[in-house]
């Protein structure tokens, strides 16, 4: 699929002589040396990204890693030193002022860390700001702003002033202001970082909910890893102006690109990241028809690596689990399903955190099914313990630092 935002070899160098800084980067000098020699600061270095339509793309890094600069390069609030940014195939870096203004008012909306509301305007007029700037008539823009306020649950506060609202509510106005212009892309710069943890979680949920109603492309800047994992479809990790890794949370946890990324993810509770489908065994499980005999079932299990088999119906839907040791209770010509254990399966998306409790209560491994009930795999006890142990090891390593 064609990415909605395509960033290629993008550089931003701040300082007295950016071109000289660029040359020194090409010579292979590092950020500190360049600053020492020329006084130029490398903001973003050789950034390449493909952001896909409809995803929440989180850019994560510590302060000073260039993430806020990067997001401002996307709508050219900051002029890039070199490279290209294409939004829907059009190069933003080459746009005229007029084209740029059009792009900003139609396709790209932005949400700010400090909310950046206008204190002299009511909530509804704040939400209508983008439309006002675009020259939409008063009645029409109020109507659309009102709809946006309803989307964020602030319908009743349209006539209030920003300073009468709490921080979380103010940021919902900021969100409504972005939604009111119905943009294809939302740029959110540390949008929830100034909020209390509880409110932050609530806002994340609201964002996810809004995404379910109407999928937009969201570029979300954050320094909060839990936030990134919670809302991000994909995460880009930045370090010293460079994007060091891009991937889904799982991909990054399983294969961190370098020590920096590894240390970043040390304290993460992977039981929230991993799901049943990530740790289940789907390849070595014998699947049996309901009418199979004990003798046949024994043979099938013996050829596999585990001690269990699964009984499915003709459509592939999960029915029950058969254990090798229970088969011994019957003669070989009886149907194996007589000793099968019927347990409630879990879905593929069940978080790892929910599985230990299930495993403790279940006499057999936990079967995993898809949305239609088709059998996908088994979460065996060894696999579960192994996954949890990795989490514990990570937490210990973090604690030891």
């Amino acid at each position: 699929m064609e990415p909605i935002i395509r960033v290629r070899e993008l550089y931003k160098i701040f300082g007295p002589n950016p071109q000289e800084g660029l040359r020194l980067i090409e010579d292979g000098l590092d950020k500190d040396t360049i600053f020492e020699r020329t006084g130029n600061t490398v903001g973003v270095k050789d950034c390449n990204l493909d952001i896909v339509e409809g995803e929440i793309f989180v850019v994560m890094g510590l302060s000073g890693s260039g993430k806020s600069t990067l997001v401002r390069l996307l709508n050219r609030l900051i002029e890039p030193t070199a490279g290209t940014v294409e939004v829907r195939g059009r190069d933003v870096t080459r746009m005229s002022q007029r084209e740029l203004i059009r792009l900003r008012s139609e396709d790209l909306a932005m949400v700010f860390q400090s909310f950046a509301l206008m204190p002299h305007k009511t909530v509804i007029d704040n939400a209508a700001l983008g439309l006002e700037i675009a020259g939409v008539g008063r009645a029409r823009r109020r109507e659309r702003a009102q709809q946006a306020l309803e989307q964020v649950g602030l319908k009743a506060y349209a006539r209030s002033y920003p300073d009468e609202l709490s921080g979380g509510m103010q940021q919902r106005v900021g969100l409504a202001r972005a939604l009111a212009t119905d943009p294809a892309i939302m740029l959110m710069d540390e949008a929830f970082s100034a909020l209390d943890p509880l409110i932050r979680t609530e806002m994340q949920d609201r964002l996810l909910e809004l995404q379910r109603e109407h999928r937009r492309t969201v570029v979300f800047i954050s320094h909060d890893l839990d936030e990134a994992i919670r809302i991000g479809d994909r995460i880009a990790i930045m370090q010293g102006g460079e994007v060091v890794q891009v991937g889904t949370p799982k991909e990054i946890i399983l294969a961190p690109a370098n020590e920096y990324v590894r240390s970043f993810f040390h304290g993460v509770d992977i039981t929230q990241v991993f799901q049943a489908c990530d740790i289940m065994d789907s390849e070595n499980i014998p699947v049996l028809a309901p009418d199979i005999t004990v003798g046949e079932a024994r043979g099938r299990i013996a050829r596999g690596t585990g001690s269990e088999a699964v009984v499915i119906d003709a459509a592939g839907r999960f029915l029950s689990v058969v254990q090798a040791k229970r088969l011994g209770e019957l003669t070989v010509d009886r149907p194996a399903s007589e000793v099968a254990v019927e347990v409630e399966p879990v879905t593929e998306e069940t978080p790892l955190a929910d599985l230990p409790g299930r495993a403790a209560r279940s006499p057999v491994s936990i079967p995993v099914v898809d949305a239609e009930g088709h059998f996908r795999g088994l979460v065996t006890l060894p696999r579960l313990v192994e996954a949890l142990d990795r989490n514990r090891a990570a937490a210990t390593a973090q604690g030891g630092q």
């Binding site: 203004i101 700001l129 675009a134």
Partner: protein, 280 residues
């Protein structure tokens, strides 16, 4: 010591003044005509209204914009001015203040905006403002009298020069102090340069600009009194007469009139800067 060094700054200024007088006369006449028209229109209009009606309007304004207590003060204070028979000089002073302020704002606010938009403009205007503010106000009277003779117009011009710096400075400061993210918000939603100024920067700088306007009005009032020395008339003239005759009573009455006008103007213009909605 052989011969003191004497840099003839005074001579240069005189030469410059002569040159202006010789070469820019039509321009000076135009300025004089305009300011005279403005001052006379204000004065004519304010004197055309019956005194009691104007008092009532001012009291109502004080009551509505400031507080009922201040409304009561306005009644007493304006009654005192009428009682001291200083109504006409007070109105003359007020007209001068209004005319000078109007011109000062018309020049000063755009100048402040230009300063906020360009560091270069700021760097070049700032020393001029410093000079305008630290120069003893009496000094302005001399060139004003030379260029425009004696009377109301030179008084108004000296007042414009003297009262302009605060509104220039505070407009510049107010715009420069607008939060970076608020500017970015404007730009990110597609503001062009003009929209950024009118929809974001000026509204957010408004409290600062209003403080500048208030200061400009107060400076105008203080200068108008001094300008009576070159015949600007009004309450300053009453004070001046008191000094010339060593008439303590008359001088004090004139002074009291200035104080009352100052308090009324200050409080009423301050209240305009505050947001009208209830804080509850």
């Amino acid at each position: 010591m052989e011969g003191r060094i004497n840099i003839p700054v005074g001579d240069w200024i005189e030469t410059a003044v002569d040159w202006i007088l010789d070469n820019l006369e039509p321009g000076l006449d135009g300025i004089a005509w305009f300011l005279g028209l403005l001052t006379n229109s204000f004065e004519g209009a304010l004197l055309a209204i019956p005194a009691w009606l104007l008092v009532l309007a001012l009291v109502a304004l004080s009551w509505w914009r400031v507080s009922w207590r201040f409304g009561l003060f306005a009644i007493v204070a304006l009654g005192l001015i009428l009682g001291m028979d200083l109504w006409e000089p007070t109105i003359k002073t007020l007209s001068l203040v209004l005319a000078a302020t109007a011109v000062a704002l018309a020049i000063g606010i755009p100048l402040g905006i230009a300063m906020a938009r360009s560091d270069w403009v700021e760097a070049s205007i700032r020393p001029v403002l410093d000079l305008m503010q630290t120069m003893p106000p009496f000094v302005y009277l001399i060139p004003a009298a030379i260029f425009f003779g004696l009377g109301t117009v030179p008084g108004a011009i000296a007042t414009v020069v003297f009262c302009m710096p605060p509104v220039v400075r505070l407009t510049n400061l107010g715009i420069r102090q607008v939060n970076r993210e608020q500017i970015e918000a404007g730009l990110a939603f597609g503001c062009n340069r003009r929209q950024l100024l009118t929809k974001i920067q000026l509204p957010l700088a408004m409290p600062s600009i209003m403080a500048g306007i208030n200061q400009t009005i107060m400076l105008a009032l203080s200068m108008v009194v001094i300008a009576s020395m070159i015949g600007a008339g009004g309450l300053g003239n009453t004070v001046l007469t008191g000094i010339q005759r060593l008439d303590v009573g008359l001088g004090f009455e004139g002074g009291l009139g200035v104080v009352i006008l100052a308090i009324l103007l200050d409080r009423i213009t301050q209240s305009v800067g505050q947001r009208r909605r209830a804080s509850a």
